[in-house]
């Protein structure tokens, strides 16, 4: 398999997980860059071209609330989990854990 194809498969695998990561990270208010740092520090490498449009999309879907605030003399849009986002996160977390258990069984990595 070519490196490019492998890269695409990895991107596809991560795409769904990113939503979960963003929702999880937005339990506390985050602006674009701080959110990226938060997720990168947790070990998930995500570039700004993917993350910033994704946050806007989640806000448009009502999963995140947003508010402009002035911090350090700079305008920043802060995002935080909405009530709907919180319910969705709970559901997605359960789904993720179930899926993870199934995959561990299939992949033979369960201890």
């Amino acid at each position: 398999m070519t490196e490019e194809r492998q890269h695409k498969l990895r991107l596809e695998l991560r795409r769904g997980v990113l939503v979960l990561a963003v929702l999880g990270a937005c339990k506390t208010p985050q602006y674009g860059y701080s959110l990226r740092q938060h997720i990168n520090d947790a070990g998930i490498d995500i570039d700004e071209g993917t993350l910033y449009p994704l946050i806007r999309r989640l806000a448009e879907q009502g999963l995140l609330d947003s508010e402009w605030q002035k911090t350090d003399g700079r305008d920043r849009r802060y995002y935080q989990l909405s009530q709907m986002g919180s319910d969705t996160l709970t559901q997605l977390t359960t789904d993720w854990q179930d899926l993870n258990r199934c995959l561990e069984q299939i992949l033979g990595t369960e201890e």
């Binding site: 602006y31 674009g32 860059y33 740092q37 700004e48 071209g49 993917t50 910033y52 449009p53 806007r56 402009w68 700079r74 305008d75 920043r76 849009r77």
Partner: protein
Amino acid sequence: MELLDRYVQAVAHYLPAEQKQDIMRELRANLLDELESLGINASNQTDTVALTTFLQRQDHPQRIAQSYAPQYPLVASEDMGLYKTIVLKGLLVLFVYAVVTAGSYLINAQSVNAIAFLLVVLSSVWDNIGGMLIIITATFYLLGKSGYLAQWRYPSWSPETLPPANAQRISTSDGISDIMTSVFGLLLLWTPLWLNEEAYNSLILGIAPNMEHWRIILTIVMAGSLIAAIYRLTQTYWTRWSMGAYIAEYLIYIGVMLTLWSLPPLFVVNNPVATKLTPIIEQIFTHGWLVGAGIFVLITTSEVRKWRKL
């Protein structure tokens, strides 16, 4: 700062008006945070090279705009099947309109020129195809964007309504040429009705006076062919019944041709100027009916083979 503003403005150029200001503000704020983390001061002239490199590393402004505000495609990929079906049906309507236009053109021009008939059909389709595509595409865009298309995307179905595994598609192009041949043939048969006296008298050929009843027989046969061809255009697959009728149509034509071959000439030279052509034309028609019947026998044999597989 000027370079940064130019970049943000370039992105804004591709954004929808209602989201432009909001996305510009957010994009600018995000870029400033990214620059700050890299220790680049966008306002500082000495950082221009670093700022240029940073902006170059961002994606093309158009792609950034697309990621922030994805554009709805003119036709979504999941609607392509429906789109193709509608375009094909639209083409058929255009074609029927073109045949009617070409028929009226011949009547107005008092001409029986087959090439002119064909050219008028083609130019009418060509003139209208662009408008038709624009209307269909715009309708798909508006209905798709507002979510109305989803209900028509996949019509209800059941396994029983699917075509049989050995189903054979009816060729649309064959249907179109059948219609054109029948319409032109009917126009030729009924030249006395629509050609003025002068134009009619200038025609080289006409039906022999003792064979006038064949005008009615051929009209019935061709009108039957025309109705059958129009019906076939509305169908997607052959059935044993429809292909049987198609074969029967060929057999009738073979019978007619063989009968005409055995009878006195159907067409005679009317125009006194062209009387010297009479022996040649008689030869052409004597052999023509037989050759035509032979060709139709070959076609019928091939259709019978297909019919047996249904």
